[in-house]
């Protein structure tokens, strides 16, 4: 994304996920609970579609995190 600095830019993350896509560890932190999951699809009519599966998780050390898998690029990110 060009132009001014945006807040809440996604950061690449290392995630181990189960077969059904649920994250099990995020950046080395074990996932204790999954609070919510949702799917975002946007700009599917353009050459740069956006498809993300979001997970709101609680890690074993008590952190609340939002992570998503970019379904177009097959990469994981965290986001505040």
């Amino acid at each position: 994304m060009k132009g001014p600095r945006r807040l809440a830019e996604p950061r690449p993350a290392t995630v181990q996920a189960a077969d059904d896509g649920r994250p099990q560890t995020v950046d080395g932190r074990r996932v204790d609970a999954i609070r919510e999951s949702w799917l975002i699809e946007d700009r599917w009519w353009t050459a740069n579609p956006l498809r993300r599966r979001y997970w709101e998780i609680v890690t074993a050390d008590g952190r609340n995190l939002v992570a998503f898998r970019d379904l177009e690029r097959n990469r994981w990110y965290t986001q505040r």
Partner: protein, 397 residues
């Protein structure tokens, strides 16, 4: 030869080639520029294949399609054309030319002072200009602007044409259609051709009084042009490229666009290159989601550096956008003289604090750049994609 030699750079169908994405599209078949969004339904430049069917720039869309049913229409891209033309003008200025240009695809400069820089001859200057442009262009040289244009129209894309010193006999065989490339005389060729006057030589032979009677001031001007007389060049001042651009991934319109405009204004005013100068004119442009672009030039009633007043002037223009935008841009076109903040006679504590804060921000920006003092601007607070909601914009206390 007269000391002044005007060089004309003519790139035919420039707007069409840029909008179509390359000159090769023009060779593929009849192509023309579609009417601009929200304007009269007149087509723009047409390719040679389209012209063979009688399709010309300025005729109604319905008439063009009736003359050539297989005509392909290309969405106009005024912002892309302006960018590409600006790039070429800067390339010419980089060889030392002081350029005059009223429309994309046509530029003039005086080769007089450049000859010593480029081999001592006009041919050397033309070769340098051709190298700088890096794109096929027709180049002609003559002692006057209009004659240079005539020479360029006779030149080929890789062979330039230099007119002789005696211009009247040289110009005589050229068609009166050349006058259409000059704004003041653009309306004349059609009428002249209906009268059976087809060449500049025939036009030059007409009495000046009769031409003035029929065409007003454009008549004698056309006669002067046909005889090789023309006004001196008015080169543009070398422009500073001060522009801010914001991509809008959610194809914004309405309130989102106004917020984006506010952000662009803040960023433009915070640029160090502005050096305290207020803006006299700005160009607001957008890349449209359905292809093509939109561009509007706004001249302020007085030079402005106040973001609130600039927003008041520029925001209503956003309603002219014919479609949602993928990207918005704001470019400074002209500057007023540098101004300082005038203090009030009776300073109040709040104003004093605000003045100190402004000075602190100014010093911080001088030391650390425009990103030294920022505030959070909600660009699209309701977006489902978190990174599209908020952006950082320069803070103006």
């Amino acid at each position: 030869m007269c000391s002044h030699v005007i060089v004309c750079v003519h790139i035919p169908r420039f707007e069409l080639a840029v909008a179509a994405g390359g000159r090769h599209i023009l060779a593929a078949g009849p192509v023309a520029l579609a009417p601009e969004h929200g304007r009269e339904q007149l087509i723009g430049e047409a390719s040679a294949a389209a012209e063979a069917y009688g399709v010309k720039a300025g005729i109604r869309l319905g008439e063009a399609l009736a003359r050539c049913p297989q005509l392909k229409l290309v969405t106009p891209d005024p912002a892309g054309v302006a960018d590409e033309w600006e790039r070429l003008l800067i390339a010419l200025e980089n060889i030392g030319a002081r350029v005059e240009s009223d429309r994309p695809g046509l530029a003039f400069f005086d080769a007089h002072g450049l000859r010593n820089l480029h081999g001592g001859t006009v041919e050397g200057v033309i070769a340098a200009a051709r190298r700088a442009l890096g794109t096929p262009a027709r180049l002609g040289a003559a002692p006057s602007r209009f004659a240079a244009l005539a020479a360029a129209s006779k030149a080929r894309l890789r062979r330039s044409e230099i007119a002789p010193t005696k211009l009247a006999p040289y110009l005589a065989p050229f068609p009166v259609d050349l006058l259409s490339l000059r704004p003041e005389t653009a309306a004349l060729p059609e009428t002249l051709e209906r009268f059976g006057i087809r060449t500049l030589g025939e036009l030059a032979a007409l009495p000046r009084a009769a031409l003035a009677d029929r065409f007003g001031t454009a008549g004698p001007l056309a006669k002067d042009l046909a005889r090789g007389k023309d006004s001196p060049l008015k080169p543009r001042r070398v422009a500073e490229n001060l522009e801010e651009r914001l991509e809008l991934p959610e194809s914004a319109s309405g309130q989102q666009l106004e917020r984006a405009l506010g952000l662009l204004i803040d960023r433009l005013l915070a640029r160090r290159e502005r050096r305290g100068r207020p803006l006299r004119a700005a160009v607001l442009g957008a890349k449209l989601v359905e292809g093509g672009s939109w561009r509007a030039r706004v001249t302020f009633r007085e030079a402005l550096a106040d973001p609130r007043r600039m927003r008041l002037v520029l925001a209503p223009r956003l309603s002219e956008l014919p479609a949602p935008a993928d990207a918005l841009r704001l470019k400074a076109e002209g500057f007023g003289p540098p101004t300082g903040d005038q203090r009030t006679l009776l300073a109040e504590p709040a104003q004093l604090r605000a003045a100190r804060l402004r000075e602190a921000v100014r010093q911080a920006r001088a030391a650390a750049g425009p990103d030294a003092a920022l505030r959070i601007l909600p660009v699209d607070p309701d977006s489902r994609v978190p990174e599209r909601r908020l952006a950082l914009t320069p803070w103006d206390p």
